[in-house]
């Protein structure tokens, strides 16, 4: 848009970090907490993660069982739709590829619906959670992930806006269609690519 705001020069934006997607700012060391629900306290003794739907072997892992899988880590950036980005974060858990391989995704599958131990859900194309792009994580900077940030375990899909990285993750339902989740039903974008600024439905 050609229109500009009277008197607004912008602050030091000549040095804008090229790692920042459009409309985002670097939140630095802080990690804002944004959740629409009451933070649940989940016990790892009874915690489970399930893959169901269009798979050959619907599978449920306990806390110990999922920890016995080959570990996988992510180091990099995360981007929240509320316009903050955070760089150099380190998460450890298991790759979603590992989990889906065990369950055996059927050829007709196109999407997943991630569901939490709360009523929260979020939808993702299958292609966005395969090929080394998504994790179930329980460690942040070498420490157990705090409940405020989705612990004991959350989904991590760092190339999409962070509401896709469902806190308190309970499982993935593999589908042959797209099924809008919680925020997607409330107006957020079905895919949420920060580089395309897919914030809201219609973007």
């Amino acid at each position: 848009m050609a229109r500009f705001t009277r008197g607004f020069g912008g602050r030091a934006h000549a040095e804008r970090d090229p790692r920042l997607p459009p409309g985002q700012y670097d939140t630095g060391n802080s990690w804002p907490v944004l959740t629409a629900e009451v933070t649940p306290r989940l016990d790892t003794a009874t915690w489970t993660f399930t893959i169901e739907g269009l798979v050959d072997r619907p599978t449920t892992w306990s806390w110990d069982e999922i920890h016995a899988l080959p570990p996988s880590a992510y180091s990099g950036a995360i981007h929240c739709v509320t316009t903050w980005s955070k760089f150099g974060v380190n998460f450890t858990g298991v790759s979603v590829d590992t989990l889906l391989e065990i369950a055996g995704v059927q050829p007709t599958a196109t999407h997943v619906l991630a569901f939490s131990h709360t009523p929260y859900t979020t939808n993702l194309p299958l292609a966005d959670v395969t090929g080394g792009k998504a994790w179930v994580v329980w460690d942040y900077e070498g420490r157990p992930l705090e409940p405020a940030h989705g612990g004991p375990a959350r989904l991590l899909v760092p190339h999409l806006y962070f509401w896709k990285s469902a806190k308190f993750i309970a499982g993935l339902r593999v589908l042959d269609h797209d099924e809008p989740g919680f925020w997607e039903q409330n107006g957020y974008h079905d895919r949420g690519d920060p580089w395309l600024e897919q914030r809201y439905q219609g973007d």
């Binding site: 705001t5 020069g9 700012y25 907490v33 009451v38 509320t82 316009t83 107006g187």
Partner: protein, 258 residues
């Protein structure tokens, strides 16, 4: 002050109805600043007249975008404090209350530079979750500037003659931090001070507790909690201890938005 990511635009209130095959117009509107008034030492309310917009619902927010001559933009979300006024599609007036955060690129610009008659780009209204429609019992818990979207709900209840539906509990550090101080007091409202209390105030300064809630909470009550992450955690715990079920609690958390 502002917002949360725990808000969103609903499909139902999507500003721009997508027309198949038609180019989608920009969701941004050029809004005129038609009112500015101080609320506290650090906060101001801006009244924005937004053309071609939809009426908002109490609890929704909008996004303000600033654009520099070289195309650089900075945008922030702000809760709408004013009640829906029942006007049809067309020019809508939204009031946003902005806390001036030192070093905050957008909040300092709004506080220090913006004058009556200026134009600001606005997108909204947005939000389909943290919304009260004005027809069911609501218990509102706000911490600091988290009272802003709750104020829209209180105003709606009063404007429509249903203040009986709403109970508001606001937690602030001191009397100087209370937004809408002249307007907020009333039989619907309880003010909780955590650090400094006004003269002759019987409750000692302390964090929000179950004893600050209404004695009876109707079973069909929805609770709306808005404030910092720490406030939201504390207030949610207080509600749960008072017997409000988890699924009846809607939360909007935010950090400072600069």
């Amino acid at each position: 002050m502002a917002i949360p990511g725990s808000s969103s635009g609903t499909r139902a209130t999507e500003l721009v109805a997508p027309v198949p095959g038609a180019p989608r117009p920009s969701p941004w509107r050029s809004a005129k600043v038609v009112g500015i008034r101080p609320e506290t030492a650090r906060t101001k309310t801006f009244r924005l007249a937004v053309p071609d917009a939809m009426p908002h619902r109490a609890g929704q927010h909008c996004i303000v975008r600033l654009t520099a001559p070289d195309g650089y933009t900075a945008s922030r979300s702000y809760s709408i404090a004013s009640a829906p006024d029942g006007s049809p599609n067309g020019v809508q007036e939204y009031e946003i209350t902005v806390e001036r955060l030192e070093g905050g690129e957008v909040s300092t610009f709004l506080h220090d530079e913006v004058a009556l008659g200026d134009e600001l780009e606005v997108r909204g209204p947005i939000g389909g979750w943290f919304v009260w429609e004005g027809d069911s019992p609501a218990l509102l818990l706000g911490g600091g500037s988290g009272v802003v979207p709750l104020m829209a709900m209180l105003r709606l209840a009063r404007n429509t003659g249903r203040p009986d539906l709403v109970r508001l509990v606001v937690s602030v550090r001191s009397p100087d931090d209370l937004l809408y101080a002249d307007e907020i007091v009333g039989p619907e409202s309880t003010i909780v001070y955590t650090r400094t209390v006004p003269p002759a105030f019987s409750r000692p300064p302390a964090r929000l507790a179950a004893s600050d809630l209404p004695q009876t909470i109707a079973p069909e009550t929805s609770a709306y909690v808005c404030g910092s992450a720490a406030f939201a955690e504390g207030a949610s715990g207080v509600l749960l201890s008072a017997g409000v079920p988890t699924e009846a609690i809607r939360v909007e958390r935010f950090g400072a938005t600069s």
